[in-house]
Symmetry: C2
Subunit: 149 residues, 2 copies
């Protein structure tokens, strides 16, 4: 994992100190496709640096989010817990089946563009940084049974 050089320059430029823990957390997220929960980041980070604590992971996730190096996501299956991914990750959305919990990822750049364009006309809206869309319903397998309910 240490073969993945991560961008700590930005962190430094923003006045944050570059510590081993912060580097590790950033490495873990950069090396993982998709998104991780704080707990998952913690599990993977402690394999690299066993002395990292969960509290530090949480604090680091907040710092990295502030610095714009990672993005915090709220994915439909469980809104209670946050998920994190690199800021460079391409936008994707989640459809979740209310019956079986299955999650399908999808993209829809045209709709996003329409959303963003529409927002430009809304008074009070300045710069748009992130859009999070969660769709809920029934998957193909569950839709038939769900209809009876």
């Amino acid at each position: 994992m240490s073969e993945h050089p991560v961008n700590t320059v930005l962190l430094h430029e923003m006045g944050f100190r570059v510590t081993a823990q912060r580097r590790t957390v950033l490495e873990v997220i950069a090396a993982s496709p998709g998104h991780l929960t704080a707990e998952q980041v913690y599990e993977r980070a402690r394999k690299v640096n066993p002395h990292i604590s969960l509290a530090t992971v949480y604090r680091t996730l907040n710092v990295l989010t502030e610095a714009g190096l990672i993005k915090q996501r709220h994915i439909s299956p469980d809104h209670a817990r946050s998920h994190f991914e690199t800021a460079e990750a391409q936008d994707h959305f989640h459809f979740r089946c209310l019956n079986c919990g299955r999650v399908v990822e999808f993209r829809n750049d045209a709709a996003v563009r329409l959303f963003v364009d529409g927002l430009r006309g809304v008074p009070g809206v300045g710069r748009i940084l992130d859009i999070c869309t969660c769709v809920e319903g029934y998957c193909e397998a569950c839709a038939p049974q769900a209809a009876t309910r």
Copy 2:
């Protein structure tokens, strides 16, 4: 508030028992424009029926959501806590300023339609029941300062 007759028939038809507490919670939500947190529902409900408990409010919110009488929302300002509104409420979305916390509500039916249409082509997706979109960025007032950061 009791002048608002609420639809308990659906509840009954689905095999749920119609209790004073459930009627109260439904009335509270139906009488409130916008969305309420569980805590807010609790506060308003106990003014009507002082013996209702917070646990019952939570259980009732889940029942009513299952029954399709209300909708659960996860709104950007605090994803940690759920918000509820009547199922009839028209879809609207939230833009939140990351700097000052200001929230702007907006609608974009065309974009939603495009989203839904796009989802029809995605394998695994059956019936779509709900879409929740949260947008984050900087409001007009905060955008200039934020640019320097």
